[in-house]
């Protein structure tokens, strides 16, 4: 009743192939974009922007990156954190050589460096599959982490060994560094994430995305009907790493402000993998749901003792956090192994037929 597409006739091919062919979806996305671009900036506090919205959007972008590789192309990767690191370090180097260029240009350009590194570490995928490949991508993770520590050129030989973001501008507004306000940073992140999500959705429903899915479903069969595994798998690694690299660069430049190599550790890779799995493999909207769940849940749990007026040690809260998140991950996998995106589909179906059972 609420979500009924009956009566919405399509009279042109363009209407048939629209990203959102159903009117309710178009209204929904317009509302979400309005809230994101107008509502949140108007009413949100700095805390909400810097500790929830900005990291949520950045993680969602990284999740889209990993989902392209794992969910759409079927190549399990545990090196996401390192690929994000490549993006961050590339952006850091670029902006220290060319400080006057618009920082947004370098944020996006750093994705190409990450993509190149991703292609190199994607080469084993031509011969190795499944868990064997997952361990091979761990090589990327640990090697790159080592490189971030051991190659002083990457962090401009800082005494601290960390990369610290200086003030940089884009379109005349200070976007990074300590002087940048929360709002400009939020808008920069939001704009990049929205545009890149739109590009991803078009990429994935076109020829390239379909060839990814053919490789995922059965690579030998795909090869027999003319999809070149070499090109397709490496392209998936490149696109995925590009997204992760941009997310990594944004993570350091728009959110953390400074980062040590340990920020891109294996834990980050796992966090992103959780977001992909819980959100739903092979679903773009799932990426946002997964990122929201994994990022916001611990923040909420941390606030619970304060709200209830209990005095609990911070360390204890952190441990309880681990227990709850771990248990919830298992619980969600049991309830719906296809993730939050599938739950959303089921909900839409219920809305469609309500008040009847079917």
């Amino acid at each position: 009743m609420f979500y009924r597409e009956a009566g919405q006739y399509k009279t042109s091919y363009a209407a048939d192939m629209a990203v959102f062919p159903i009117r309710q979806d178009r209204i929904g996305i317009a509302v979400i974009l309005a809230v994101a671009f107008v509502g949140i900036p108007l009413f949100a506090s700095d805390f909400l922007l810097t500790s929830i919205m900005i990291p949520f959007l950045i993680f969602a972008l990284a999740t889209i990156g990993l989902n392209i590789l794992t969910g759409y192309c079927g190549q399990l990767s545990l090196g996401t954190g390192a690929f994000m690191g490549v993006g961050a370090y590339a952006c850091y180097k670029l902006t220290s050589y060319f400080p006057d260029t618009n920082i947004l240009v370098w944020i996006v350009a750093s994705g190409f460096f990450s993509a190149a590194v991703g292609v190199v570490f994607g080469l084993p995928s031509l011969r190795i599959k499944g868990f064997y490949l997952a361990v091979a991508t761990l090589a990327a993770q640990f090697f790159l982490e080592w490189a971030f520590i051991r190659i002083p050129w990457l962090y401009n030989a800082n005494a601290s060994g960390a990369i610290e973001v200086a003030s940089r501008t884009g379109f005349g507004i200070t976007l990074t560094g300590p002087a940048a306000g929360a709002l400009p940073r939020y808008f920069a992140v939001l704009a990049i994430v929205v545009v890149m999500t739109w590009i991803a959705s078009n990429l994935l429903r076109g020829r390239i995305g379909r060839s990814f899915m053919m490789i995922r479903d059965m690579d030998i069969a795909a090869e027999l009907i003319g999809v070149r595994p070499l090109h397709t798998k490496l392209l998936a690694f490149a696109v995925s790493s590009f997204y992760c690299g941009v997310a990594g660069a944004m993570m350091v430049f728009f959110w953390l402000g400074a980062a040590e190599p340990s920020a891109f550790s294996i834990n980050l890779s796992f966090q992103i993998l959780f977001m992909v799995i819980l959100g739903g493999l092979g679903s773009l909207i799932g990426c946002f749901m997964g990122a929201a769940f994994i990022w916001i849940l611990p923040v909420v749990i941390r606030m619970v003792p304060e709200v209830l007026g209990l005095s609990v040690e911070a360390a204890t809260v952190e441990h309880v956090n681990f227990v709850i998140v771990g248990a919830l991950i298992i619980a969600i996998l049991i309830v719906e192994p296809h993730g939050l995106a599938r739950m959303w589909q089921i909900l839409k179906q219920k809305l469609r037929v309500w008040p009847f059972p079917y």
Partner: protein
């Protein structure tokens, strides 16, 4: 030319010039290889029987060692707490089977893999809640394990052998032999192999999958306990130990995910290769290469044999 000499010839010259040091490095590599092999064994046991890559093996090692130390700290005699720990591992096995594996039966591998990562988070939180996060000392002496070291004169130098290392090697070998015997000669072992071969065929001849899963998780728990004691005796018992689980991953893919001998050989190749690489080639690139060398070694082997050294040949059909 200079670089080629440094990479290809100089390390071997060093090895020949100081044979006693070379032997010492080999021994160190051998011992850490044995311990990697022990952890890999836990992975392989569970993967064979249920097709789950159990990421939680690393934290199970920590959890087992922490329970042992924690119980002893409460005043329980060490040997009694060892027995209690075996009990805890059994409860854990039953719990995992009931709460995680049974509801997730027939799900794709990656979902089960993620569930074990969830289990890892759960156990990390629980362990820190109960035992606290600070490193603890393993109760080596109360467990009647040897301490101290002896020097061995060889080739104009001497070799330092830690007694605990020798004990670790011996215990690992006994453990592998016992598991090998268990798998090939006992009734339960045959059932385990049947399940590893084909779940449905095993079910159809009356083997209870649930029971088998409890048994393998219990076996993996005992392997984790032994590993925890050995690693704990060499360093501290802390949550940092769980990173050795990452080291066990290249070991199992090198040996083949389903092969027990593969786990042992893989462990030794990785352990020795890593130590030799770090000592003789590490200084060329600034050291610290131990963190990724194991993966590169495994990757090199995989490119030649994609199913690992002892893994079953992967035959793909359409």
């Amino acid at each position: 030319m200079e670089t080629l000499y440094l990479v290809l010839i100089d390390p071997f010259v060093q090895m020949v010039q100081a044979p006693d040091f070379f032997l010492q490095v080999l021994w160190e590599g051998f011992v850490s290889g044995v311990l990697y092999a022990l952890i890999a064994l836990g992975f392989v046991l569970i993967f064979k029987a249920s097709g789950v890559l159990n990421f939680a093996q690393g934290i199970m090692v920590v959890f087992a060692a922490l329970s042992l130390v924690g119980l002893t700290a409460l005043g329980v005699p060490a040997l009694l707490s060892l027995v209690l720990c075996i009990g805890i591992m059994f409860v854990l096995a039953v719990g995992v089977e009931r709460m995680v594996l049974r509801p997730l039966v027939n799900q794709p591998d990656i979902i089960l893999f993620m569930a074990t990562i969830g289990l890892t988070y759960f156990l990390i939180g629980l362990g820190e809640l109960i035992f606290g996060g600070e490193p603890k000392t393993m109760v080596t002496e109360q467990l009647l394990l040897p301490t101290g070291s002896s020097d061995l004169d060889v080739m104009g130098g001497f070799l330092i052998l830690q007694h605990i290392d020798i004990a670790a090697a011996v215990i690992a070998i006994v453990m592998v032999a016992a598991l090998g015997f268990f798998f090939s000669k006992t009734r339960i072992g045959r059932a385990l192999r049947a399940v590893a071969d084909d779940h449905q065929a095993a079910l159809s001849v009356g083997i209870s999958l649930n029971q088998i899963w409890v048994i393998v998780w219990f076996a993996a728990g005992i392997v984790a306990l032994v590993t925890g004691i050995m690693w704990g005796a060499r360093s501290d018992v802390s949550f940092a130990l769980q990173i050795v689980a990452f080291k066990a991953l290249p070991v199992i893919i090198l040996g083949g995910l389903t092969s027990i001998p593969g786990a042992i050989v893989g462990g030794l190749v990785i352990g020795i290769g890593e130590k030799l690489g770090e000592i003789y080639w590490g200084p060329l690139v600034g050291g610290g290469i131990e963190s990724w060398l194991a993966y590169i070694i495994a990757l090199a082997f995989l490119l030649v044999r994609p199913q690992g050294l002892f893994g079953e040949r992967i035959i793909e059909r359409i």
